[in-house]
Assembly symmetry: C2
Homo-oligomer: 295 residues x 2
């Protein structure tokens, strides 16, 4: 078996994702100009989750005379282009963020791009104070989760070991809308692995979904984010139905967005270590790159 504390096992990381993770706090495009308020944000492809986070402080569509940010995250088969045309027709100033020929603010396709989209938006729309708290949280976590921190002191390495041969079920506080799906996406993209995000009404799902089959198939690991009453009840329900329960450490940050970004960042490190344990390159799959060029 591979060893997360042995230098040579990280050689599969062809694009040095560990370095990108380590230096993520602060690594985003700074706005080069002032954007007139009011603001609107829509997101496509990779940009869906940063757009959803941004909806905590800006609407989807701006009203007259402001700036419409369009996060053009690819694999959308032209949907972003349609949104641009609609925004332009409404008289908004359109700012395209993402990748492709005609963007105003480039963000490369990358497993960690949600952070970059989000931080650009925070700086561009007067939310840099929250952004600073996000960066503080990520910098604190980077010190705890880095490859140089040995397994016995490194909770992300510990999580990765516990997720081998298990399928994670994301048990996420309802305060963190959209987070379970964002974790499902990042876990797939970095670890190349499947996980389960529950539908709304997750308590009912946790009670019923494992009735017929919980002695068959892949063993499950409940990965818990948050500790409100409902999340604790979900854990109680799941305890007898899953192999193991893993609770994310308290986030080193307060506030919805810093807390969610801390959970996302922790999960990205975990997925990274799981890829190393699988002997898999955590870089983007070649098929994803090819498809991006076509779609």
């Amino acid at each position: 078996m591979r060893n997360l504390d042995a230098h040579e096992d990280y050689k599969v990381d062809s694009q040095k994702l560990a370095g990108s993770l380590r230096r993520l706090a602060g690594d985003f495009p700074q706005p080069q100009e002032e954007y007139p308020a009011p603001y609107g944000v829509v997101g496509f492809g990779e940009g869906w989750w940063p757009a959803e986070l941004a909806h905590l402080w800006v609407p989807r569509l701006m009203t007259e005379g402001g700036t419409q940010f369009v996060l053009k995250g690819g694999l959308d088969l032209g949907a972003a282009g349609g949104a641009v045309a609609a925004a332009e027709a409404s008289g908004a100033r359109v700012v395209l963020v993402g990748f492709g020929g005609e963007v105003d603010v480039p963000v490369e396709p990358h497993p960690l791009s949600p952070y970059r989209y989000l931080r650009f938006l925070q700086e561009a729309t007067g939310e840099s104070e929250t952004g600073r708290r996000v960066d503080e949280a990520l910098a604190t976590l980077a010190g705890q989760l880095d490859t140089s921190v040995p397994t016995e002191d490194n909770p992300a390495k510990f999580f990765a070991w516990n997720l081998i041969e298990r399928v994670p079920v994301w048990v996420v506080s309802e305060r963190y809308a959209g987070l379970a799906q964002a974790l499902q996406q990042s876990f797939a993209r970095i670890a190349g692995s499947l996980s389960i995000a529950p539908p709304p009404g997750s308590l009912e799902f946790f009670i019923t979904a494992l009735e017929s089959r919980h002695e068959q198939g892949d063993p499950l690991a409940a990965v818990v984010v948050g500790n409100d009453e409902k999340t604790k009840l979900a854990v109680e329900i799941l305890e007898t139905r899953v192999d193991t329960v893993l609770e994310l450490p308290e986030p080193p940050a307060a506030g919805l967005i810093p807390e969610m970004m801390a959970a996302w960042y922790f999960t990205a490190w975990t997925a990274y270590y799981l890829a190393i344990l699988f002997g898999r390159d955590p870089a983007d799959a070649a098929v994803l790159r090819r498809l991006r060029e076509e779609a």
Copy 2:
């Protein structure tokens, strides 16, 4: 193995869910009065999906002087009560739909309740024409999917056989927002079984999530709803990564809501037959009933 064409294998169906399925079209609470417009709809617990469907024609919150429908679907630990208080403070007329002591329009907790909430809302808010098309679609499907239709002519029985020992992955056209999660929920509740709804940006997920593990664990079945370009591309990507691809028959109805309700109803029948094949009572789990009394 059990036989879906043998009468005695249906004895596990203690609450006669087959009868409720067969007679579902038309089986909903009719409004007993006029409700003043404008309307707003919020949904909790079981009511989350009918509320999301209703948002295709009414907003979450009404503006002054209208009616605020609150779908009180249980297991929400008091969140519906908070919504009622907020709506009342805003001066709206509040109509509570669902279960519990103080509701205005009773809808019992039931695996098929999403239909009942939806149809009530359609009749109460001037959308009965769309509702009629939903009922026509369900009545047509009832004739094709009933227990009396033998396996060789019954696509829901065929789907159930193909889902034994496989985990469904819902591959749903983006037109049908929320449907994958609604199918995940109903499948859990009726078949007692796990399935996977992808996050937004589902193409990326389908490409990446099965890289490390597609030769391990439970075999997957892609269950496909819709046939637009993007859904076809997703099927192409999944074909080499899953055990089998099952495409839902064309819905016998046109329009977003009738099409989504047809897919949901088809899936409910499929989940029902899968429960029978597992020898499992498709009625609600006792633990779900107990929890509902507490929460």
